[in-house]
Amino acid sequence: MLLEVKDLTKEYQRGKAPFKAIDRVNLSVSSGDFVSIIGRSGSGKSTLLNLIAGLLSPTSGSIEADGQDILSYHDKAASLYRNSKIGYVPQGHSVLANLTVLDNVRLPFYFFKRAGGAEEKALSLLGQVGIPHLAPSYPKELSGGELRRVSIARALINDPGILIADEPTSDLDTQTTAEIMGLFRRISGSGTAVLMVTHELDTVDYGNRVLTMASGRLTERVK
């Protein structure tokens, strides 16, 4: 199993009362899965993705990637997990303003020692997301849809086993949304699992699994 989440709980303090953003969630993801998680705002979708991406610590439960308990990792191992096993597309615009599009895409390649360079691969990924001509541009020169494509290309630079996308089409027009969803389908078709949070029901048709999040609980809908 690529990813195994068991009894995952994340509790916050809201005022004086405890509040469970994630409540005993179980989830298994295999290679090539395209999982859509839907739910209302505040239902805990983004929190779940960030727990799986190792960007947030749970209150209890376990997360295993390729049979390894990621919660036991120290900083270096956790960073390597985020860098190599996970391709993360955060919510909103998450491109570094001081780097060119090409440098943004190839940046994660250099966080850990790897042979060779990342330029050719970064250019190829920019081609796959349809913006090869923007390689030398800076983020401020790009539209919202183009920035999202840069984030996706960047997430794929280290050939992750799983692509995690937090509302990747939230502020995009219909055509761009369709293009990005088509891209995600191709990615999952190539063996990389896609785990996507969305509140746009139209997009779930691109995936092979749909899960619903409500009050921190996750349930799978049969398609």
């Binding site: 270096k76 955060p90 998450s94 491109v95």
Partner: protein, 403 residues
């Protein structure tokens, strides 16, 4: 074009390049600090050096001069203001008899003129090679030998003719060597044996310039320099000379130095205080600015973390940016200080009216290295806390806060 690897250093450079205003503010603060550190250190170093040089050059514990000529003597020693004054050579013999006097040597002073007869108006100092314990040891140390018969030794400020000679009262003499700078009035003096200076005095007399109206040229001296016996108090010996030898004034070298060093001490203290205040101010400003800039860049750092940057790398990027800005500021500040302090050293020295002798190359390089080190360190030190704090923040929360 082949793209270069995105190392921590390169990421820092790109971040600085794309935010020139933010970088310029940091660079300016560090440049002010470096200017104060390097400029202040060179200034205080030169003053202390000048003081040490003057102490070494005086070489005598007491200076006996004709009554009323104490300020003239100080003018010769400190300001290089040419003067002449005389008393009988018998005084030297009397001084030598006073209790506590270990050695006594006469000196003879003459002023050349700004006229056809002379190359320039400077102080001429004649010493007695037989008894001298002040000029010759210094010459031996500074020049590595002694002047030959009929030769002169010129202070560092004297302009020597191309053929290596100097002319005074129509008499031309070869200059054996030019001495290193001392920052005292002796830099504008020419040294010679008693025979030469007496010959010059006679030549001046023959030319109608009557320096020695009251004394026979053969017997006159200008000052008697005294070294006191161990165990004797300089003030007590000075009092003995004053009471035993009429018509003289005694300058106690240590008292003169103490007076100058009192002024110098206050000035050095003032410069050091300004440097320290500026350093503290720079540290406080930078320590206050870095958390603000970190706060502004929360989302940026969260993205690095989400992409797999370790805490160590994140801290590395922040410290490296701070180091690059500090280095640029440090180099800029020391360069400006160097352009101010070095070309105008003579002017600064004369304005301060204190002995001012720039440290040697080794001293300057040492000061430069220390100033650059402190300037370079100030950015990383002041940003360290903010860097560690941002690296420890929970990425998801930071990313949300940064939106």
């Amino acid at each position: 074009m082949k793209q270069r690897p995105l190392t921590t250093n390169r990421i820092s450079i790109y971040n600085i390049r794309r935010k020139p205003f933010r970088a310029a503010c940091l660079i300016i603060v560090v440049a002010i600090l470096a200017f104060a550190l390097f400029g202040g250190a060179i200034l205080t170093g030169s003053l202390k050096n000048g003081m040490n040089s003057m102490q070494q050059r005086l070489g005598a514990d007491l200076m006996v001069v004709p009554a009323g000529h104490e300020s003239d003597m100080k003018g010769i020693l400190l300001g290089g203001e040419p003067a002449y004054f005389y008393f009988s050579g018998a005084v030297a013999r009397q001084v030598a008899q006073v209790g506590g006097v270990a050695q006594a040597t006469p000196q003879f002073y003459l002023s050349s003129l700004s006229a056809d007869c002379c190359d320039e108006a400077v102080q001429l100092i004649g010493f007695d090679p037989g008894t001298d314990f002040v000029i010759q040891p210094w010459i031996a140390r500074a020049y590595g030998g002694a002047a030959g018969d009929g030769q002169l030794l010129a202070g560092s400020g004297i302009i020597i003719r191309d053929d290596g000679t100097l002319k005074f009262f129509n008499q031309t003499y070869r200059v054996a060597a030019q001495l290193e700078r001392t920052s005292t009035g002796l830099d504008n003096s020419v040294f010679m044996s008693m025979d030469i200076i007496k010959a010059l005095a006679a030549a001046a007399h023959n030319a109608g310039m009557n320096f020695l109206s009251d004394e026979a040229p053969e017997d006159a001296v200008s000052a008697v320099l005294v070294k006191i016996d161990k165990g004797y108090d300089a003030d007590a010996v000075a009092a003995g000379i004053r009471s035993g030898v009429p018509g003289v004034e005694v300058i106690v070298s240590q008292s003169m130095i103490s007076g100058i060093s009192g002024n110098l001490g206050s000035l050095v203290g003032y410069i050091n205080t300004i440097s320290a205040v500026l350093w503290i101010l720079a540290v406080v400003v930078l320590a206050a600015v870095f958390p603000f800039t970190m706060n502004e860049r929360k989302k940026e750092f969260a993205i690095y973390r989400a992409m797999g940057a370790t805490r160590k790398r994140l801290i590395g990027i922040v410290l490296n940016e701070a180091l690059l800005a500090s280095a640029a500021g440090g180099v800029l500040g020391t360069a400006i200080a160097a352009f101010v302090v070095f070309p105008f050293s003579a002017y600064i020295g004369s304005r301060l009216n204190l002995p001012y002798l720039q440290p040697g190359t080794g001293g300057i390089l040492g000061t430069l290295a220390l100033s650059l080190l402190l300037s370079f360190a100030v950015g990383p030190i002041t940003s360290l806390y903010a860097a560690v704090k941002i690296s420890r923040a929970e990425t998801y929360m930071t990313m949300r806060e940064g939106e």
